[in-house]
């Protein structure tokens, strides 16, 4: 039925175990230690989470919603204290709207007939539990259907209820599984809930319908293999397989109990007892361990989410920092060019304007008082011309800087952070992260999308204007008159003045030009300084993003440590509940992949015991032993052998990595999940290859 290994020797375990390995030590109560462990785990992960948020709080552009996954009630955590351990096993019915969940509730509990829908979507909108007819130790819980049009709230409520389930019964109508409901199913799988698939076969009971069900049950229940395969494929994407698959007629089962007199013929024909039987068996085998797993996973799963969010967030922060640095480099290259070109143009403006006046003195014909005022006019016009020209250059520059910044911003906004991210999930995260990814529960959605901005705050302040021009000594020195006139005569005076004017104009213009160049240089230097400080603060921002990333990476590792700790404690507790005190005491290390497997490292003797007589914990336990030095990657084989009945070969192994090959016909996603789990557990890259024969997805 499943690929999971259930060794045949389990049948004679009861007799042989004692003979081979001796009496078990008196079993201690596993619960107090487990409850304490969970409480501690909760407190410590909360603390790390608060630290991580506090680290990010001061940093602009980093969202607080890093830890929030949309559409998934990860914030729900069961209370640790005050739990009634004698409460019945909680069986949650889940499925698409109109799948027949409420009919099934009625059939299984003999109550709440009014919940059965009338052919419309979203008839039952609440979560409701009632004791099962077959066992007082089983409680059946009905939930709103998932995947109804506009029913996101219903899905949310159903998933919340499922998180608090010991077993989920996935009720699927006989026709198909739709995309929306498949997503919910996969999510359940990823979280690790044990799932019994109930195919609710449709057949109207009116008219000859009832007769059809009674006479030709194969027409009603048969030919569902395609649908079951499809459901299994979806689950496989989450790395899990159904606990059981049953075919029922929920409405028939409900109608059989509609009257005071139970219609046993109809009851039997509905095959509802297949489901009840599966549940009773499950209760008998795993009631206590399921309870423990429900409690642990309620805390473990959000913590795992937190660890992944933190490491993904750190990755994203690093990518953001890298992009920011590249963008900063780009924008400043563009701005430097703009400033340089403007500087060149401004210097040219000065040269042109001053150059045009080089021969001013030649136009002077009247060397009387008018010379000075003419010259003043000329200088005023030069100042005016330059002030206007230079100011225009600067205002153009301001605008160009603005638009260059905007253009760079727009251009880099098109660059996906993926271009910079390493996207290499560490082995530990990859188990969880890849399960999410394969189940198409976007990893990205778990991580905040952070704003790209914050590298240059708006336009660069450019309060530059050359008002009135430089105030250099630009006046001609007064021309001496009287004395010269006596000694030189009027013509001599004229000549002398002409020479004086000619002599003075050049240097004055030189001074003027120099003065203007200086002003231009000063203004542009100020601007360059401003840009340089913008650049520095951009670099600082990038740096602080990287610092935060480093912090988050640490926090993430801290959470992982806690998860390792709780995995070990959980495994111990489960073994104890299973009556395997000896194993419980000898487990040294454990890696859990909820719903998939527990990889547990045992002391030598216990390893053999676990290998010969694997405990039945409700989750596959694959035992291994501490590796010899350099044999870490090869040690994966021991665990793998417990994962699938078909067996594995160690195709290639060295001290760095190993490749395992199996002939088992396994879905890719399950194999990859196992590879990830092994990789995380032994700390070396382990790859499982299948010699696949059929075309599993």
């Amino acid at each position: 039925m499943t690929h999971l290994a259930v060794p045949s020797r389990r049948q004679w375990q009861a007799q042989a175990l004692k003979v081979l390995f001796g009496e078990q030590a008196p079993a201690s109560d596993p619960w107090p230690a487990l409850l304490e462990l969970v409480a501690r785990f909760q407190a410590l992960t909360d603390e790390i989470r608060d630290f991580a948020l506090a680290d990010a709080a001061g940093l602009e552009g980093v969202g607080q919603d890093v830890f929030h996954r949309h559409g998934e009630p990860s914030s729900y955590r069961p209370a640790v204290v005050g739990r009634d351990l004698r409460a019945p096993m909680r069986v949650v019915l889940m499925g698409r709207t109109m799948a027949g969940k409420s009919s099934l509730l009625t059939a299984m509990t003999g109550s709440h007939f009014d919940r059965i829908g009338d052919g419309r979507q979203r008839f039952s909108r609440d979560v409701l539990g009632a004791p099962s007819l077959v066992s007082e130790h089983i409680e059946v819980v009905d939930t709103p259907g998932v995947g109804a049009h506009g029913g996101a709230d219903d899905t949310d409520a159903a998933l919340k209820a499922a998180l608090d389930a010991d077993v989920v019964v996935w009720v699927n109508s006989s026709d198909s599984i739709q995309e929306e409901s498949a997503a919910a199913l996969k999510l359940l799988g990823v979280i690790g809930k044990p799932i019994i698939v109930a195919i609710n076969c449709r057949q109207s009971l009116q008219g000859v319908g009832r007769l059809n069900l009674l006479r030709f049950p194969d027409r009603v229940f048969g030919n569902r293999e395609g649908l079951v395969d499809e459901i299994k494929r979806h689950m496989a994407l989450a790395g899990v397989e159904p606990l059981d698959v049953v075919y029922i007629h929920a409405l028939a089962a409900a109608e059989a109990k509609a009257n005071a007199e139970v219609d046993w013929q109809l009851h039997e024909a509905s095959r509802i007892e297949d489901l009840n039987g599966a549940l009773v068996r499950e209760h008998a085998a795993h009631n206590e361990t399921r309870r423990a797993l429900r409690l642990v996973d309620g805390h473990r799963q959000p913590a795992q989410d937190l660890a992944l969010s933190l490491s993904q967030g750190a990755e994203r922060l690093r990518a953001q920092a890298a992009r920011e640095r590249a963008m900063t480099k780009d924008v400043h290259a563009r701005l430097r060019r703009l400033v340089r070109n403007t500087g060149e143009a401004m210097v040219s403006d000065v040269d042109s304007a001053v150059g045009r006046r080089r021969d001013w003195h030649l136009s002077v014909t009247d060397f009387g008082k008018a010379v000075q005022s003419d010259w003043n006019d000329e200088v005023a016009s030069l100042n005016d011309e330059l002030a206007k020209a230079l100011e225009a250059r600067l205002s153009t520059l301001t605008a160009e800087i603005q638009s260059a910044v905007e253009a760079v911003d727009a251009e880099w906004a098109t660059v996906s952070l993926d271009q910079f991210a390493l996207r290499d999930l560490s082995a530990f995260d990859s188990v969880w992260g890849n399960r999410l990814a394969r189940a198409s529960i976007g990893i990205g959605s778990a991580v905040a999308v952070m704003a790209a901005g914050a590298f240059i705050g708006g336009p660069v302040g450019l309060a530059i204007a050359i008002a009135g021009g430089p105030a250099a000594g630009i006046a001609l020195t007064p021309l001496k008159n009287l004395v010269d006139r006596i000694f030189l005569g009027k013509d001599g005076v004229l000549r002398k003045r002409r020479q004086e004017v000619a002599k003075q104009v050049g240097p004055i213009l030189d001074d003027l030009a120099e003065e203007y160049q200086k002003v231009v240089a000063t203004r542009l230097d100020e601007l360059r300084d401003g840009l340089a400080s913008e650049r520095r603060s951009s670099a600082e921002h990038s740096k602080s993003l990287e610092d935060l990333a480093a912090g988050w990476t640490n926090h993430s590792q801290g959470v992982r440590e806690l998860i390792r700790e709780i995995d070990l404690g959980t495994t111990s507790a489960l073994l104890r509940m299973n009556g395997r005190e000896r194993l419980a005491r000898s487990v040294t290390r454990a890696t859990r992949v909820p719903g998939v497997c527990i990889l547990a490292e045992f002391e030598d003797a216990a390893f053999w015991e676990a290998w010969l007589f694997p405990p039945d914990l409700g989750e596959t336990l694959a035992g291994g032993k501490a590796p010899i030095r350099g044999g870490e990657s090869a040690s994966a084989l021991a665990y793998a052998l417990s994962l699938a009945e078909a067996g594995f070969q160690l195709t290639k192994a060295n001290d760095a990595s190993a490749i395992l090959t199996t002939d088992a016909d396994l879905p890719t996603a399950i194999v990859e999940t196992w590879s990830g789990a092994l990789t995380a557990h032994v700390g070396r890259p382990i790859q499982i290859e299948t010699n696949r024969r059929t075309s599993h997805q």
Partner: protein
């Protein structure tokens, strides 16, 4: 009358700019805002036409005629325009009417002076009575000191009021221009034109005859020649080029296809880099010209100084020493020209190097990377390491049909503009070619000043000066002969002016000639590149079948801007 290109291209830029603004406003605001910002801030200076000349020389009438009576310019007898009046021709062109020149000094008031300095074109009005000394001085002041020899048109304004025998006016103008003999002139009668406009309804035949006789279309077409000469990439075409670049960028935002978007953005950035560089080159070359002129003036001043010094010391100027001074002058001018040539080469080298590095930067930018990778040119990698797991990877799409053309185009562009190791190192690049060509551009040199020719020009003054100085040796005679001496001094000033003007005229001719060759070479390089960019952009855009209304509007704007540019270029020949 032929349309006015100053007005038309400015109007085209204004109208198309408004339309483009309208199109952009309909785009996604995130994309639109930077484009709008750019469109509004890179506002261009409106072309400035300045009218100068004598009082009552018909400047105001000419303005009315040229603008088809867009303004009601007050016209009366006597001094009609006492101060500078400015007319805004529909926001596209500014017309400045200066008061006429005053006798006594060739300069006039400050506002007129500034207007003349900033003028894109000076229309120098000359009455049928032709020139007197004051007007000649004013003309030469505008041409020489204000450096408007290449931007002045002499208009004989009231041709209808007096007939003149052929050649007279030409001779008078030639005489007045002196060394600036390349300045064009034209005669017209603006009043006839206005009369013709008045008669248009009542008597169409007479109207046509008046308009024909006015000769105003000749004026208009000469004005257009000036407009064209401002260059394909000059001030007039600048706003149109800007429009084209922004329109190209806007069209990039109309597509959802990231490849198309990247390719168009790269093209737009390349286009804008080229047109900005072209304008920047003009600015820098103008400044080098101004420095060259200053060097020439300095050489002229040294020459005049040395002659005068010798005249004073020795009482005359010997032929041998004149030869020496001339040799110094010629050497000074040669050095000035050499410096100019070197400066031009240096400007070109530096700017093409800068352009090359910008081209590489464009290719290295995010959009450039996409475009380059599309084109399968060896991409410069991001620093990031290889991808291991790709959650949410974007599906690979097939490369668009234009990738191979884009690849060819980018290779070509990189080869011609982006030689990153410096202009000199890259023999195939445009920068290298044009720098090599600079030497040929300055084939024209200063004509050596020769003793015989120069002596005639400066001799008169020298003689007067010599006489004056010999008389002035006696203290008593100073007052007695002061009148003659002052006259001689004035003559010396005049000689100085004429020497300088002669040299400046040559310098201007060299600048005009050399720079027009350089500019033509530049245009020969830039224009086809713009065409290639536009063709590539069209190919990219045409690959998409759906044509939105916004795209139609953008393309219409582009077509019209291109047409306006073509028209502007067309009348240059």
């Amino acid at each position: 009358m032929t349309g006015n290109l100053f007005k038309e291209s400015a109007a085209a830029a204004r109208v198309l700019g408004e339309e483009l603004r309208g199109v952009i406003a309909d785009l996604d605001p995130a994309v639109a805002q930077p484009l709008l910002d750019r469109l509004s801030v890179e506002a261009h200076p409106t072309p400035l036409l300045v009218f100068t000349g004598y009082h009552s020389s018909g400047k105001s009438t000419l303005i009315e005629a040229l603008t088809n009576r867009a303004f009601n310019v007050p016209i009366g007898s006597g001094v009609t325009t006492d101060e500078v009046s400015e007319y805004d021709w529909e926001g596209d062109v500014r017309l400045v009417d200066t008061p006429g020149v005053h006798a006594g000094r060739p300069q006039h008031d400050e506002r007129a002076e500034r207007a003349l300095q900033a003028a894109d074109l000076v229309l120098f009005a000359v009455p049928v009575e032709l020139f007197d000394d004051t007007l000649v001085a004013h003309l030469r002041d505008v041409l020489g000191r204000l450096g408007k020899a290449r931007q002045t048109l002499i208009v004989i304004t009231k041709a209808g009021t007096m007939a003149a025998a052929p050649g007279h006016r030409e001779a008078a103008i030639k005489d007045a221009l002196g060394p600036f003999n390349l300045v064009p002139w034209v005669e017209c009668d603006a009043q006839y034109y206005l009369d013709g406009l008045d008669l248009a309804d009542s008597s169409p035949a007479d109207s046509a005859a008046f308009i024909e006789a006015s000769g105003l279309s000749a004026v208009a077409s000469l004005i257009n020649t000036f407009a064209s000469r401002q260059g394909e990439m000059g001030r007039l075409s600048q706003p149109l080029q800007l429009l084209l670049a922004i329109a190209l960028e806007a069209s990039a935002s109309l597509t959802d296809d990231p490849n198309e978007q990247a390719a168009l953005n790269v093209l737009a950035r390349q286009r804008s880099a080229l047109s900005k560089k072209r304008i920047h080159l003009d600015t820098l070359l103008d400044a080098r010209s101004a420095q060259f002129r200053a060097d020439a003036v300095r050489a002229a001043t040294l020459f005049a100084d040395s002659i005068e010094r010798e005249e004073q010391q020795d009482g005359g100027l010997g032929d041998v020493s004149l030869e020496g001074h001339l040799a110094n002058l010629n050497e000074g001018l040669r050095v000035a020209l050499e410096r100019f040539e070197a400066a031009v080469r240096q400007v070109l080298e530096a700017q093409f190097d800068d352009l090359a590095s910008e081209v590489l930067e464009i290719e290295a930018s995010p959009y450039g990377r996409v475009a380059v990778q599309l084109g399968e040119v060896e991409p410069a990698g991001f620093d990031g390491r290889d991808v291991v797991i790709r959650p949410g990877a974007t599906p690979a799409t097939a490369a668009p049909g234009w990738t191979s053309d884009l690849s060819k185009y980018l290779k070509q562009f990189n080869k011609f503009w982006g030689a990153g190791d410096g202009v000199k190192a890259a023999a195939g690049s445009n920068g290298h070619k044009i720098v090599v060509k600079v030497g040929h551009a300055f084939g024209k040199k200063f004509q050596p000043w020769e003793a015989v020719k120069t002596a005639n020009k400066i001799g008169k003054a020298a003689k007067v000066g010599g006489a004056a100085i010999s008389i002035g040796l006696e203290a008593y005679g100073v007052f007695a002969d002061e009148r003659a001496a002052v006259k001689a001094e004035h003559a010396r000033s005049e000689r100085r002016r004429s020497i300088t003007q002669e040299i400046l005229a040559q310098a201007d001719a060299i600048v005009a000639d050399g720079l027009s060759t350089v500019r033509k070479d530049l245009d020969d390089m830039f224009k086809p590149e713009f065409q290639r960019i536009d063709e590539m952009a069209n190919e990219v855009r045409d690959a998409v079948s759906g044509r939105s209304q916004l795209r139609e509007r953008l393309e219409r704007i582009e077509r019209e801007a291109e047409a306006a540019l073509r028209k502007l270029a067309g009348s240059a020949h």
